[in-house]
């Protein structure tokens, strides 16, 4: 199901409709691999948390937790660089009247370069994601959270190391 077909829900409030439209625009930009377009839909100081993004080093653990402009942008850019045909299909959008939006989406792509620890073997993947957004009353995203399963992702790409 494409985002065009996704209803904002029955009895929408203006806040709900605005938030839903913003998030649909975000996924449209993501589908077009337009990182600047994604960022333009976020506030300057938007929070970002990709929960499974976790790199364990000897001295410290790096988390995908920070700001869209400093953590989100490099991750999205690197992801699109490694998977140049990256695409998403939104399967559900649910919103409340306070700017919270939950999105279930399948993200897929073909690996063209190494990504993190995952060496490029030319494999492809399709992976369900849960995204949680908060959208301001002005229609800008000020919080992005995502969950997915890296184990499935790695296995689909032929990589079997946990770390």
């Amino acid at each position: 199901m494409g985002t065009e077909a996704m209803p904002a829900g029955c009895g929408t409030t203006s806040r709900e409709a605005t938030a839903t439209a913003t998030v649909i625009g975000f996924f449209d930009a993501y589908r077009a691999r337009d990182v600047e377009g994604m960022i333009e839909l976020c506030t300057d100081n938007a929070d970002f948390r990709y929960v499974p993004f976790e790199v364990w080093g000897r001295q410290r653990v790096l988390h995908g937790d920070g700001k869209v402009c400093t953590i989100g942008k490099p991750i999205w850019t690197a992801l699109i660089d490694a998977f140049p045909d990256l695409i998403n299909t939104v399967t559900s959008i649910r919103a409340d009247g306070e700017g919270n939006v939950a999105v279930q989406a399948d993200i897929s792509g073909t690996q063209a370069k190494d990504f993190g620890v995952i060496a490029c073997a030319g494999g492809d993947f399709e992976l369900p994601h849960l995204f949680l957004f908060h959208v301001t009353g002005h229609g800008l995203i000020d919080d992005v959270v995502s969950y997915w399963d890296n184990a499935q992702w790695k296995k689909q790409l032929g990589w079997f190391e946990v770390d």
Partner: protein
């Protein structure tokens, strides 16, 4: 009651290992999708199996509800952290008595009469395996201490992709 209260009760019962109480909150045909386990089906059967295995493997389980909102279609969307110390094999991983903390996203679809008709859960199984000491996704029973080789998952009916 409200969907918000239903969700809080659901997670309270999960922490208390009251699986039967959770199942009493469901509609008769309630569905479950445990996305990282690729488990999809009946909440009463497959959902119950997972929750019992979780309770048995982590008897000191603590559920921390970090975020909860209810969308206009009466769906409760929650971010939780589960914490506990492993006391039994879990999802094919041998018991190394590791402490686990894992962020998860849950979607509970609630009917107008406050029953749960569908449950969908997201988390990163790779993070879970890392915390349990698993080193390889294709040999999840081989851990950092080398224990538990030969275990092929609990006879719960859950699919663990153990090879």
């Amino acid at each position: 009651m409200s969907a918000r209260k239903v969700a809080r009760e659901f997670f309270d019962h999960m922490q208390a290992a009251d699986v039967d109480e959770i199942l009493c909150m469901m509609t008769p045909d309630a569905a479950v999708s445990l996305v990282p386990l690729q488990v999809h089906g009946s909440m009463a059967a497959k959902g119950g199996d997972y929750l019992r295995e979780l309770a048995r493997s982590f008897p000191d389980l603590v559920i921390r509800l970090r975020r909860l909102f209810v969308t206009t279609d009466n769906t409760a969307v929650a971010e939780i952290t589960i914490e506990g110390t492993q006391a039994d094999a879990f999802l094919g991983a041998a018991n190394l008595e590791k402490h686990v903390d894992l962020d998860q996203g849950w979607i509970l679809e609630v009917t107008p009469d406050d029953r749960i008709s569908a449950v969908t859960a997201y988390w990163d199984q790779n993070q879970l395996y890392r915390r349990l000491g698993v080193k390889r996704l294709d040999k999840i029973t081989i851990t950092t201490r080398g224990g538990g080789v030969g275990y092929r998952g609990h006879a719960s009916g859950l699919r663990h992709d153990v090879t």
